[in-house]
């Protein structure tokens, strides 16, 4: 019996090993090996210099600006995106017969080439852009929205525009999995709308909300592509995110700084994921008991 179970494991182990081998070879091992760059003074004829690169980073204006803007951007855009996509999912589901058309509309930004949407937004928010043309009616002074202190807001808008659709799709599937009877029972008991949302919808959506959070986090780094196409390597201060810093370090072959920055970011991400997992474990325990 035991022998049989052992033999049974061979195939799944092989299945895992293929993926694991690629994962280690293309991501994990080079990532760990690259650590050596971060403790050398230069990548070519490097001498060990300890934590000097890390120390220098925390005094680097650009790195600090990147960290600050990235943190702000995520703190605003991730929760906003989650809330808006939940609203969109609830409303779109109400449109029973037409819900497919509406959800397609929200998914369309995913299919538009980044360059195309960047071009559109640039001409919309630019100094001679359509937004200013519209505001001119109210005699509002022309400004370049990307260059102004509203730059961050523009970035959030573009991010939301692009990513509400996919999260909405996730929420629609989550809402669809809640048995209709729960709501009917609540109706019979005369429960109010808010009560139903808090005690049924919110509770049963908790697991998928975590998935949405993780996916939003992944996608929040990708808004860089549009910003980069619009404003290039040296954007206005308010748009300078961590990815700009890393990208510029990569292009200027400054691997020591690049790798130090990536290690710092990775630590932050690990902490974030640990928090998410803790929170989920706690909430799902509350759900079951």
């Amino acid at each position: 019996m035991i022998k049989k179970r052992k033999r049974n494991r061979i195939l799944p182990c092989m299945m895992l090993l293929i993926s694991l081998a690629g994962f280690c070879f293309f991501y994990l091992i080079p990532f760990l090996l690259s650590f050596s760059y971060s403790v050398m003074d230069n990548p070519v004829s490097g001498k060990f210099c300890g934590m000097l690169n890390y120390k220098a980073l925390f005094q680097n204006v650009y790195f600090l600006r990147g960290i600050k803007n990235t943190a702000w951007f995520m703190a605003v855009s991730i929760p906003l995106n989650v809330v808006l996509s939940l609203c969109a999912a609830i409303v779109v589901r109400k449109m029973k017969a037409h819900s497919n058309y509406f959800s397609l509309v929200f998914l369309i930004p995913l299919a538009i080439p980044s360059a195309t949407s960047a071009f559109f937004w640039e001409n919309f928010f630019g100094l001679h852009g359509t937004l200013n043309r519209f505001l001119w009616i109210f005699r509002v002074e022309d400004i370049d929205w990307l260059e102004s202190s509203y730059g961050m807001a523009v970035m959030v808008i573009i991010f939301i525009w692009k990513n509400v659709g996919y999260n909405m799709a996730l929420f629609i599937s989550g809402l669809g999995s809640i048995p209709e009877e729960y709501y009917e029972c609540a109706d019979v008991e005369g429960a109010g709308r808010l009560w139903k949302f808090r005690n049924i919808t919110y509770v049963y959506l908790t697991p998928i909300t975590f998935l949405v959070l993780i996916m939003t986090f992944v996608n929040s780094f990708k808004v860089f592509k549009e910003i980069y196409i619009m404003t290039g390597e040296y954007p206005p201060d308010s748009l300078y995110v961590l990815q700009h810093y890393m990208n510029n370090m990569f292009l200027s072959l400054n691997y020591s700084k690049l790798v130090s920055a990536t290690y710092i970011l990775t630590i932050v991400i690990v902490l974030f994921v640990v928090c998410i997992f803790r929170a989920e474990r706690k909430l799902s325990e509350d759900l079951h008991y």
């Binding site: 195939l11 182990c13 299945m15 895992l16 293929i18 993926s19 694991l20 690629g22 994962f23 293309f26 991501y27 080079p30 990532f31 690259s34 109400k94 449109m95 509309v105 929200f106 369309i108 995913l110 538009i112 080439p113 980044s114 360059a115 195309t116 949407s117 559109f120 001409n123 919309f124 630019g126 001679h128 852009g129 359509t130 022309d142 996919y166 799709a169 996730l170 599937s173 989550g174 697991p207 998928i208 998935l211 993780i214 986090f217 992944v218 780094f221 860089f224 592509k225 980069y228 196409i229 961590l242 990815q243 890393m246 990569f250 691997y255 970011l265 990775t266 991400i269 994921v273 989920e280």
Partner: protein, 294 residues
């Protein structure tokens, strides 16, 4: 009678509310589609009209870009020059296909079995290993670019689309999403098949795969959408401009041939739009409804 009247009134209010919601949603939809609408209609403008509308160089204060919805004179000239005047664009389109197809296919072939293994195997450190997958999945492109470059250097493929394809195939996203999906599948199915004497190979192929086919479609779509629009990796790993995917060319339109930019965008977006149109059901159903933890 009073109750009935009240009921009617409520029905009316509800219908009214519904209409308002409908209108609001339609307005939102139009706003949402604006970039697509503009791109589509402007692709029928002649190239001189496009240059006229969008060149900002000569604009003074209180003069604006003309983001017109309707072309002054509709013409197919953009499409004609895109498709017939020079083979470059079609060639670049084909480059995109050659780059993305192996990634999507490989991603599925690698992640589906791995997700299955994560579901059925029990070993110490499994959750820790999966945690590593999640971390790498969350790292932004700018972080993984350096490891990718190091490996490409080892393999001597720094100037080749293989440097994009191979890491793309092993991107942990597929394993993550498919494992979430397999978790939501009742264990009883696998156990029953085992009791009947089926091995893992048969269980995977005949029990699990049919159940997660929507999830697989969803992962394929997400991978496609992501890599179809790739820009950064191609700029770094493909030096030969002839071998670039069309997405890179589109990213350069701002400085170059604005005249055919819109037709190029439509042309490039069409395949993914079709995939979305026919596959949005998979995106909605092919998603785990369970949480992160097993």
């Amino acid at each position: 009678m009073g109750v009935r009247q009240k009921g009617n009134k409520m029905k009316k209010v509800r219908a009214m509310k519904r209409k308002v919601l409908y209108v609001l949603l339609i307005v939102m939809a139009v706003v949402y589609m604006m970039p697509l609408i503009i791109t589509f209609t402007n692709s029928f403008m002649g190239s001189s009209e496009v240059e006229n509308n969008y060149s900002t160089g000569s604009l003074g204060a209180d003069e604006y870009v003309d983001m017109d919805v309707v072309p002054k004179k509709a013409t197919l000239s953009q499409y004609a020059s895109l498709l017939f005047d020079s083979p470059v664009y079609l060639h670049m389109f084909w480059n995109s296909v050659k780059l993305v197809a192996p990634i999507v296919l490989g991603q599925i072939l690698v992640s589906a079995p791995a997700a299955y293994a994560f579901t059925v195997l029990r070993f110490r450190g499994k959750e820790g290993l999966f945690f590593l997958y999640i971390i790498v999945m969350l790292l932004p492109l700018q972080v993984t670019l350096m490891p990718n470059y190091i490996v490409a250097d080892w393999m001597g493929i720094t100037d080749s689309c293989l440097a994009i394809i191979l890491p793309g195939i092993f991107n942990p996203l597929g394993v993550f999403l498919l494992r979430q999906f397999m978790k939501s599948m009742p264990d009883a199915y696998i156990e029953a098949a085992m009791v009947d004497g089926a091995g893992h190979g048969r269980i995977f192929l005949w029990v699990v795969l049919p159940m997660v086919k929507h999830g697989i479609a969803a992962v394929a779509m997400l991978t496609l959408l992501d890599y179809w629009n790739l820009v950064d990796q191609a700029v770094i790993f493909i030096q030969d401009s002839e071998a670039q995917p069309l997405s890179v060319f589109l990213a350069k339109i701002n400085s170059g041939e604005l005249g055919i930019a819109f037709a190029g965008s439509c042309f490039y977006a069409l395949p993914v739009l079709l995939v979305l149109l026919y596959g949005q059901e998979y995106l909605k159903n092919g998603i785990a409804i369970t949480g992160l933890k097993g």
